[in-house]
Symmetry: C2
Subunit: 329 residues, 2 copies
Amino acid sequence: MAQLIVGIDVGGTKVAGGLVNQKGKLLKSLIVPTRADKGFKASYAQITHLIERLIHMAGGKHQIGGIGICAPGPLNPHTGVIINPPNLPGWRNIPLASLIQKRFDLPAKVENDANAAGLGEVLFGAAVGYRDVFYVTVSTGIGTGIIIGKKIYHGKNGVAGEGGHVSIDYRSPYRCGCGTLGCIEALAAGPGMARRARVYLEQEHNEPSLLREMTRGHLELISPQMLEQAMRQGDRAARAVIEETGFYLGVWLGGMLTLFDPEAVVIGGGVARIGKPLFQKIRETIPQYSINRAFAAKLPLLPAKLQKNVGVYGAASIFLPAGEEAETN
Amino acid sequence: MAQLIVGIDVGGTKVAGGLVNQKGKLLKSLIVPTRADKGFKASYAQITHLIERLIHMAGGKHQIGGIGICAPGPLNPHTGVIINPPNLPGWRNIPLASLIQKRFDLPAKVENDANAAGLGEVLFGAAVGYRDVFYVTVSTGIGTGIIIGKKIYHGKNGVAGEGGHVSIDYRSPYRCGCGTLGCIEALAAGPGMARRARVYLEQEHNEPSLLREMTRGHLELISPQMLEQAMRQGDRAARAVIEETGFYLGVWLGGMLTLFDPEAVVIGGGVARIGKPLFQKIRETIPQYSINRAFAAKLPLLPAKLQKNVGVYGAASIFLPAGEEAETN
């Protein structure tokens, strides 16, 4: 009998869950708001309640092949312990996989959310048909997943694939939350973009920009959404900041290609939805910062496909047959 | 019957060969000078002659399990074709593996020299006991090898793991031979070190330095060896340049750790032999540019062990049992 997988996506403001079949089809999905900042206990009750409801929907425990859970890192996928994610304050060294496994008497695993999303895109999304893929999601942070042979590459301590925290500028004025100068996350994620726009307009007093009107002069209020909107209305400063973001991402991805020589790169996340002017600059820059210009120019650069359910798909994919199949290849 | 492996190391100025047993012991080795710049034909005759002698030494063809050949990249390990290595001028699209295979009626494979060296260090050198290792050799260039599960990670086109050509400074004044600005090779390999020393002393007219005497004022003659020698004699400028090299390597390795979370890093090559002041700076810098400072600070940073025979070991390791065993894990 084909079993269903429970996929759970734990975020800072919501917990989403779903039932996914062996072909990667999402049959049911549920979502509840949560306050992860209130600490572990309250969120945990919500998570277990969500799982109960999904198991019930599936027709009982014997129908379930496993419970896959994705959450913000750092976490250890080998031991199933959530370490101390900045986005889940109050969660410290929580052995989530074994708690869930005992509670439901079903196999359970936890996975870093970007890794899970990358695997989900390879098994069921934008990168179906590929085996070696570099996944990146650009939103308030930059998360990446290294998928090799349709499996997540974890490294020794389970913390590999934190590509957002590779520096492309060791003397950058911008220090990342992780402590490193010039991480691509500090330069090119949403808050980094907004900050660069602010610094630019503060320095170019005389340059008119819609961003000044949109924020009524409070440039600290600039958001990535405003940048996108202003750019669409022809704003020069907004376009410059967005193109610079594309340049940074291109430099960085050039390095990733030089290291991984992947079959494809998948790009997801809110910032990536800015679309053409950003992607164009990324595409144009990658070959300039990659050793194999010919391969780099031809590399498939795929927009992510799974969208808002990517976490549930990703979490479920840890237990799904294509993932298992890849294990024995 | 335990078979022997022929390992061949093709370089720009020499071809080395050896017989390696299943335990990774080098039983015989031969070396002949070559002029790779004279084109393919002459070197090929030397290579086949060397293989003949080794097969004869082994007691005949039935004793040989395979012929592993390493050479400078770019080459395609999947097809066995040497593409167009800058260090082997005149070699263009040479299907070396199939030529050798037909010529000797024995299995033959080619591999990028840094990848092979990395695998050799994991199977028989500094990193025995580890499975996931980042290998780097710093000499006239910077070569790297990504070893995952005791196997070389090749990527789609067989050109993965060119870590020396990842930029750590997109606006660097130094352009690498590969065309990219600020590759770690352009900054920290021998010629890059020498160039930075020259630029430094040209700008600091008044700073006395042994390097001025050693080169009789012809600063373009500075070599990495001179830098090392001057540093040992207490020269301030030489020490500054070497420490800066360690800083650059540390920034770059910090990024590699963030991506790969390896069990160990192996560092080989002539420049690496500068030793303590370089390694100290590398060690000190890695955690500052790596997301997991605690893991980074504890990471084994191992000096390469195989030394001058690394190419022969590496080439042979493509066919050796530990490599095969890893395939089925």
